[in-house]
Every structure is written in C-alpha cells, then in structure tokens.
Symmetry: none
Subunit: 192 residues, 4 copies
DNA sequence: AATGAATGAGCCTTCATTCAT
DNA sequence: CATGAATGAAGGCTCATTCAT
C-alpha cells in the first residue's frame, strides 16, 4: 500500500521512465546551466530521487554520455546522408549543437581527461571522413581539408560561445567567427 | 617570540611582499587550474592568511584585475611599437597569453557579467586599432580587418586551449587553429 | 558497516526524528542563546549534519517559524477559550513566552524586516481581539484597550527580559515592569 | 621624514585628537548600527588605524564606557537641576537617549555581564534619587515611586525601540508605550 | 528498484585581536 | 605612539555521494 506521505515507489516498471526523465532533465539543464550543473538539480527537475540518478548514471560522465549519445547518433545519421551537401549539413548541425549545448563539448573534454581511451573525438572524426571526402571530390573543400580541422573549428566556435556573456549576442558572435574560417565551412543560413 | 603555532606577523612592511606573493600565486594557480580556482588555495600557495587576500583583493575580480592588468599593460606597450610588424607581434603575444593563461579570457567574461560597464574588451579593441591600421596600410591585412575580428579570433583560440586535455598537445592544437584563420593572422613561429 | 569516522546514516525513516531533534535543539538554543545562535550549533546539538538543518529549514527564519508556530498555535488555542478570564490567561502566557523565549520576539522582528508582508503581528492582534473585547465587556479592561496596546506591552516586557543579565532576577524585573502597566494587564501570579 | 606612501605618524600630540575621533565615530556608529558594530568599522570611520582604537580602548566595553560617559555626565547635570520639573526633564532625556542610542542600554547590559561590579545602574539610580524625591514632594509622583521603576521603564522603552523594524514608526511606537506607563512618567512633548 | 534524507568536506566571507615597523 | 597589515577562528552555505528503508 503506497504511503500517503511519500511518493509512490512505482517499482521496476518505472525504471526506464525514470531513466528517460533524468535524461530529459539533464539535457535541458546542461543546455541552460552548463555541464557543471549540480546533479541534485537534475534529479529534482526529473522528479526522481537522487538515488535513481546515481543508480542509472554513477558519474556525471555516465549521464553526459547517455545524453549526448543522441547527438552522436544524430550526427552519424546525418553523415550517412549521401549528397554532396552532406558535409555542409553536418557542419551546420555541429555548430548548432555547440551553440545550444556547449556542455556537449565540455563533456568530451571531461571524458578525455577522465578516461584516457575515450573515443568520442575519433568517433566524430570518423563520421566526418566520408562527407568530407565527398566535399573534396566535389571541389567544395580543398584537398588538404581534414576531419581534424573540423573538430578544431568546432572547438573554436565553442570558445566564442562560452565567452559571450549575453545570450542575445551569441548568434552574431558566432557568425563573425564563422566569417573568419575558410570558405569551405559553410556559414549558418540567416534566421537559422 | 613568535608562537610555534601561529605564523609570524611580519608587520606592515611585509604588505607589499604579501601582495606580490598573492599576485604571483594567483597568476600561477589561475594558469594551472583556471579562473575558478579556490581563493583559499591561492592564499595557501602565497603563504598568507585568508584575510590578507581579502584585504588586498576584496573579490575574485579585484584579484584577477590586478593579475591581468600586467597583461593589459604589456599589450599596450607592444601596441605602441611602431613598425609594420606591430600587429603581428601583438597577435602572437595575445595567442601566447590565451594559451598560457586562459583565465585571462575567463576573467574578462566574468567582469562583463558582473560589471556591465567593464571596459576590458574596449581597451583591447583600442590598443589593436592603430597596429591594425598600419597593417592594413602595409597591405598585410585586408581593408575589412577589424579589431573585433581579432578579439573573436582570440576567443576562438581560447576555445581550442580549454578543450585540450593534454597540455603537451596544446601548441599543436593551437597551430592547427591558427592555420584555419585568415592569413593576416600571422602563425606562431616554430619553437616559439 | 558504518564507518567509525562518520555518523550512521539512519535513512529516511529518521527524517521526522531528525526534524524534531532540530526543532527541539533550536528551541532550546534560541531560549538559551537568543535568536542569533549559530546554526551549526543547533545542528550539533541536534546531533545531525549541517545539511539536514538546511534541508529542513533553508533559512534561519524557516527554522524559527517552525519553532514558534507552536507558540502561535498555543496562543490561538488559548484565545479560543471562552470565559471572561480569557484575556488574563492569554496575557500571562504571552509574558511567560517572552521571558522564556525572547527569540520569539526577535524572530518576529527579523521576519518583518526580511518579509515585508509577514503576518505575525497581525495574527497576534487577531487572536487578541475577541478575548480583549470580552474583557472590555466584563469591565476588566477599559473601553479604549486595544490589541496594539497588548503587543506594545509585550515588547516592553521583552525589553526588560533582554536587559537582565542575571536570569535569577528576570522574574523580579518583569514583575516590577508589570507593576508599571495599567491594571487591566493582570500580574503574574506568585510562584507562577 | 614621513613616508610618501603611508599616512603621517603625527606623534604623541595627535593622541587626544585620535581619541576624540574614535569616540565621535563610535557614537555615530553605535547609534546607526547598534552596539555590536564591527570595531574596524569604527576605526575606519575615525580615520585611524586599528591599533589606535585598541590602544585607547582595549575592549569594546572600554570604548562604550567612554562614549556613554558623556551620557551619564549629561544626565547627572540634568539631575542637578533644582526645579520641580527636574524629574520630567530627566525622564524625557532618558527616553530620547534610549530611542536614539539603544547601544547605551546594550552597553550597560554587556557591562553587567562582563564586570559583575559595574556600577552603571547604581549611578543612574543615584542621579534619579533626588529629582524623584522632589517630584514625590511636589505631588507629581506617588509616594511609592522609586528609581528602580524608572530604570525598568527605560528598559521597557528600549524593548519597544529595538523591536521596531521601521525607524519611521519608532516615535509612534514609543508614544504608545509611554501611554501605558503611569502618569507620573511625563509623555514626550509633540514634535519633540 | 526507488526514495529521498543524511553526511560532511569544502569554499566563502567576516572580524576580533595581535604585532612589526 | 601610530600605523595598518596579518592572522585565523568562526560561521554560513552548497553539493557530491552514500545509504536505510
């Protein structure tokens, strides 16, 4: 009999619901408050106990991995796109993610520090390989263009994003930054 | 006779030594651990009590202002340099500072947030004005080159720096980033 | 196995015990040391960690509200008392509370400062209304007697209490003070 | 040769100036911020070093004694006043002091706690003796009126003063309190 | 398996008091 | 004697992590 004074323990069946709620809350708070947002704030926003968070995600990194796995998956899906526009779309999405979720980048940094053989950057490089090759073949990228350049450019955009105190100016700041990159990094379409 | 349990009070004459010790410790720890390093760690590293730090620098920003005022001064001195190479030197020094002391950039961000009329960015833009004008006249920068582009580029370099978990790779990562910027941003000379 | 270095985590079931322990410790220390007693002293006296105190009572005022809500409730119960003696009992209890728990008064002052629409004084005035009306009707209070007079008299008794350094003399000092008030404020019965 | 970097050490001749400056600052800050105002705030307001304050007044009590000795002296002068109005003036001045300088009362309390044979209250009682005797003889105070009643009444006024969060209402609150005291305590004249 | 409370270390800040010059 | 800096204890608050139920 559920106590009238405590929340319902909904049992094992709720586990995946809880996990999803934590992930959604984490994504939202990572985006709003950054990667270092207090974990208890995430649990609270998810409407679950602290224990649930730790059960599903023993460390902050585990949680961030799960949150941003979706980002990886989305990027990989986009990379599988065949057209000659593939690289452009991928780049634009990377920029959007960096702007909207700087925590994505911070997570990768944290992971590389904590887990020496974390493969995030390699995974990103790998998914960029083929679209970039096609761009080179199509002449929309120079022969020397390399996935590492793209990852570096993402880090550059990240730098502009996190040093902008006024969110209303972030887009303009990022546009100025993109303007400094080589032309083969397509700019963000207006209003995008 | 100084107590064996408390540190010696070296008297007011030590004030400037202590201030200098705090500044040195702060510079070192800002460089090593970033702008958000605990203030008590700085006091400890300087070999002074907490109170000394607060007496000299009531807030973290006051401390960072004092530490990085030297950076501003150095850059302004460099900017007063005449020759057509002025902008190149300034840019290289900005990059070095950003790499060695990412906290410099973080301080500016914090100041802009906390003190709406903080003039750091304007001061940087102002000192870039003249060297950049000369560079444009000498044809080593395009007519459209603007101090705001330079500040944006610094933020981009910052992004690369703080996302590099392995300090041994920072230089290579920054070089790759500089390679993506327009040619009028001179690269760092080898071994520099 | 609980560590020998850390206290036992008695689990959520202990929550209400802990809350009660904090309240009891707070009441005791408020009475002994006044409203400004360090919060960590309260946590220590309650045998709980700092966090527990902050979890249950995020601010000093929250804690004091909880402690002194009992006082309000007791006074309201007393006020519901019918007979013509109602006001006399209420007054005597108010005096006792003020003497034993000057922090009660200090809490109301703090609340008025921190929360402009704190209703403590209005609540006290309201509960006095009816008993005082009956006292006026019974001729034991003058027609002009007003709840505000009663609250003022409580503040006067408070003044005598907190300026008495020797607790053994507090009763005598308060009796002298009551002797200066109009007769419709019944004195404390001897030995009371 | 006075250093250009530190304030002038004005030598022994300045001692009494400094003492006076500290007293003036202390009176002002005691009145504004209460008896527990930080001592370094007093030194700062007086424009002297901490050491000066401690040299002249080793403890807070020593400082408060010196500040409020003037109050005692003023009251004693007033008490020497012969007319039948003597007590009334004395009482009004006591009330004014209590309202404007609650720290006066707090000092007496602190002194009684710290120095068991502090004679402040006796001194006050003594200076009240004669004026009160005259008032009794003139029929403006009852035969039972006693200096201890007056001191108690001061403590009552103090209670009203320190529990008033809004300084703009202090006068009204005190007037209500005076209205509850026996008639032989003359009220404050309007606008007084 | 979920709950949500407990713990305590850590950091921030203030201020009474001491003391070299 | 004055100066004014140094000290460090104290207290406030937060949050990562653990754990009884």
């Amino acid at each position: 009999m559920p106590s009238s004074r405590t929340r319902h323990n909904r049992g094992p069946a709720a586990a995946s619901d809880n996990r999803a709620a934590v992930l959604a809350a984490a994504r939202s708070l990572f985006a709003d408050q950054g990667y270092q947002v207090p974990l208890n704030a995430i649990a609270r926003a998810a409407g679950v106990g602290q224990g649930v968070l730790y059960r599903h995600f023993p460390t902050r990194l585990d949680l961030a991995f799960a949150v941003f796995e979706e980002n990886f998956a989305e990027l990989e899906a986009l990379a599988a796109d065949s057209g000659p526009e593939g690289f452009g779309r991928l780049w634009r999405r990377l920029v959007e993610m960096t702007v909207a979720e700087a925590a994505f980048v911070e997570m990768v940094v944290d992971a590389r520090r904590a887990l020496p053989d974390y493969d995030g950057p390699r995974r990103l490089a790998a998914l960029l390989e083929e679209p970039l090759r096609r761009a080179r073949e199509a002449g929309s990228a120079p022969a020397t263009a390399d996935p590492r350049d793209v990852l570096t450019a993402v880090r550059m955009v990240y730098g502009v994003t996190v040093t902008e105190p006024d969110r209303d100016h972030t887009r303009a700041a990022v546009e100025r930054a993109l303007g400094l990159l080589p032309r083969w990094f397509p700019p963000i379409p207006e209003g995008g």
